[in-house]
Amino acid sequence: MRTASRLLGLLTLAVGLVAAVPPAQADVNPRETLKRHVRDVVQSVKAAPTAAKKRAILDEKLRGMIRALDRAERMTALPQDRAGIDVLRARLQEKLDELHGQDGYEAVPANQLDAFADYVQQDFEQADSITISLTTALLIVILIVLLA
C-alpha cells in the first residue's frame, strides 16, 4: 500500500513536471530546426576569415538546402507541401544568384557578405508562413544532413 502511494506521488510529480515544461522548449520542431540550421550557416559565414571563404560557405550551404528541397519535393505527395517547397527553393535560389551575380543580380560585394548572410537568415525566418507540414520539414532536415 505504502509503495503504491509513493509510486502515485512520484507519478503525479512527474506529470506535473512534464506539464510545467515551458512551451519555449516544448515547441521544438523541424521547422525550427531548419531556422537553427540557417542560423548556424550565418554564424559560420561571419566567423570565416576571408571573403572567399564566406562566399564558399554560403554557396555550399545554399546549394545543399536547394538539393534537399529538390529531393524532398520528389518524395512528398502533398500538393500543399510541394507548393511550399517551390516557394522556399525559389527564395534560396534568389540568394544563390545574388551571391554570384547571376540572373540579373550584381554579385554581393566582399565587404557586405556578413550583412548578406543576415539577410538570408531574416528573409528565411520571415518566410515562416510557408506551408510545409511537419513531416516534410523533418524530411528536409534529414536530407540536409544526409546530403551535406
Binding site: R2, G9, L13, A83, E94, Q122, S129
Partner: protein, 353 residues
C-alpha cells in the same frame, strides 16, 4: 518483521497538488507577483491599451549574433516594461498560448491576462480562449476588471502581435488548434469586442500584410486610426516597449504616427529585410479601402497566413489613392526588391504569374 507503518496520504496529496499547480501556471516570461497597493499613483487615467500577443505558432527568430528569440516572449517582456512605465494608463496584456491539455486529455486554460493599472501589475489570471469567437473571452475579462472609467473618457488602443492574418478565414492559423478558422473579419470583430461602445482610437497590427484594402476595410468600423505593415514584417515586430514613449499622446493619428516613426527607426536598425509601415487615418482612407477591397484579386492561397502581398501599384499596374495614408519605407538591402520604388502603403495579392 516490523509492523507496517500507517500510510500518510497528506504529503502525497500536497505533492500532487503542487505538481499540478506548477504545471497549470507555466509561463514563457517570468512575471512578478501583483504589486502591493501602497504608494500607488492616483493620477487620473489617460489611456487604456490592450496588447494581444498570439503565441500559438512558430515565432522563433535570431538576432545577428545568433541568439535565438521567441517573438511572443519578447513582445510580452516589452509590453510589461511599457505598462510599468505608464502611470496614467491601464494596460491589458493578453498572451494567447497553445492549447495543451494535461496528458492530452484534461483541459487547461490557454490564455493569460496580465492587467496593469497606473504602472502596477494588479492581476494575472488564466482563461480559456474560446477561439471560435475571437477575443470574446478577453473582452469579458476586460469588462469584469477594468477601472470604472468609461472608454469614452480615455484614449483606447488595441495592438495585435502575430503572423499575417489571412484575408479570408481559413484553418491552420493556431498551430495547436488548426481546425479553428481565423481571418481578418474575425480579427476585426474581435477587436470590436474589446471596445463595444464605439471605435477604438487606434489599432496596431504588428503582423505581415496587415495594410491591405480588405484588412483596412474590415477594421474601419472598429478604429479611427490604424498602424500596419502592407508587406512582410520581420518577426521582431513593432517594439511594444515604445508604447510608453507615446503615453502622453491621445490624438489617434498623432499616436499611430509617432509609434510608427519610432518603430521604423528601431526596425531599420536591426534588420536587412524590407521595413514598410503605414498609418491609415480611417476617416480618409476607409473609402479607398472599401472600394479596392471589392476590386483587388482575392487571396486564394491555402497557406494558413494567406498569400504574400506586394505594393498595390505594382499588383494593379495603376495608381491607387493614398489619401489618409502615411508610409515609412525602406527596401531590403539585398534581393529582387532592393531598388524598388517607394511603397504606396497598400498591399495587394500579386497578379498570377
Amino acid at each position: 518483521m516490523s509492523p507496517a507503518r500507517p500510510v500518510r496520504p497528506l504529503p502525497i496529496l500536497v505533492l500532487a497538488a503542487l505538481a499540478l499547480m506548477v504545471g497549470a501556471c507555466r509561463s514563457v516570461v517570468p512575471v512578478p507577483a501583483p504589486d502591493a497597493e501602497e504608494g500607488a499613483s492616483t493620477a487620473p487615467l489617460r489611456q487604456r491599451l490592450v496588447v494581444v500577443v498570439h503565441g500559438d505558432a512558430g515565432y522563433l527568430y535570431h538576432t545577428p549574433d545568433g541568439t535565438p528569440h521567441r517573438a511572443d516572449a519578447e513582445t510580452l517582456r516589452e509590453a510589461f516594461a511599457a505598462a510599468r512605465a505608464m502611470p496614467r494608463a491601464e494596460v491589458f496584456v493578453v498572451h494567447q498560448r497553445p492549447h495543451a491539455p494535461l496528458l492530452g486529455l484534461i483541459p487547461r486554460d490557454d490564455g493569460t491576462l496580465y492587467h496593469f493599472r497606473r504602472g502596477r501589475l494588479v492581476r494575472r489570471t488564466t482563461y480559456d480562449q474560446r477561439r471560435a469567437r475571437p477575443f470574446a473571452a478577453e473582452a469579458a475579462l476586460l469588462r469584469e476588471h477594468r477601472a470604472p472609467v468609461p472608454d469614452s473618457a480615455l484614449f483606447t488602443a488595441a495592438l495585435y502581435y502575430g503572423h499575417a492574418v489571412p484575408e479570408r478565414a481559413r484553418p491552420g492559423y493556431h498551430r495547436s488548434r488548426p481546425e479553428v478558422p481565423f481571418g481578418v473579419e474575425g480579427l476585426a470583430r474581435g477587436l470590436g469586442r474589446l471596445r463595444p461602445a464605439g471605435p477604438l482610437d487606434a489599432v496596431v497590427l504588428s503582423t505581415c500584410d496587415g495594410g491591405t484594402p480588405p484588412s483596412i476595410a474590415a477594421l474601419a468600423p472598429h478604429a479611427r486610426s490604424v498602424l500596419a505593415a502592407p508587406a512582410d514584417l520581420h518577426l521582431s515586430f513593432v517594439d511594444a516597449d515604445l508604447l510608453s514613449t507615446v503615453a502622453g499622446t491621445t490624438d489617434p493619428q498623432a499616436w499611430t504616427r509617432r509609434l510608427a516613426d519610432r518603430a521604423f527607426g528601431r526596425l531599420t536598425g536591426r534588420v536587412t529585410t524590407a521595413v514598410t509601415l503605414a498609418t491609415y487615418d480611417l476617416d480618409r482612407a476607409a473609402p479607398t479601402a472599401r472600394r479596392w477591397a471589392r476590386r483587388v484579386r482575392p487571396d486564394t492561397s491555402t497557406a494558413p497566413t494567406g498569400a504574400r502581398h506586394v505594393d498595390c501599384r505594382r499588383a494593379l499596374d495603376r495608381p491607387i489613392d493614398t489619401a489618409g495614408v502615411r508610409v515609412w519605407d525602406r527596401p531590403a538591402r539585398f534581393g529582387p526588391a532592393a531598388g524598388r520604388p517607394p511603397h504606396s502603403g497598400w498591399g495587394c495579392v500579386p497578379p498570377s504569374p
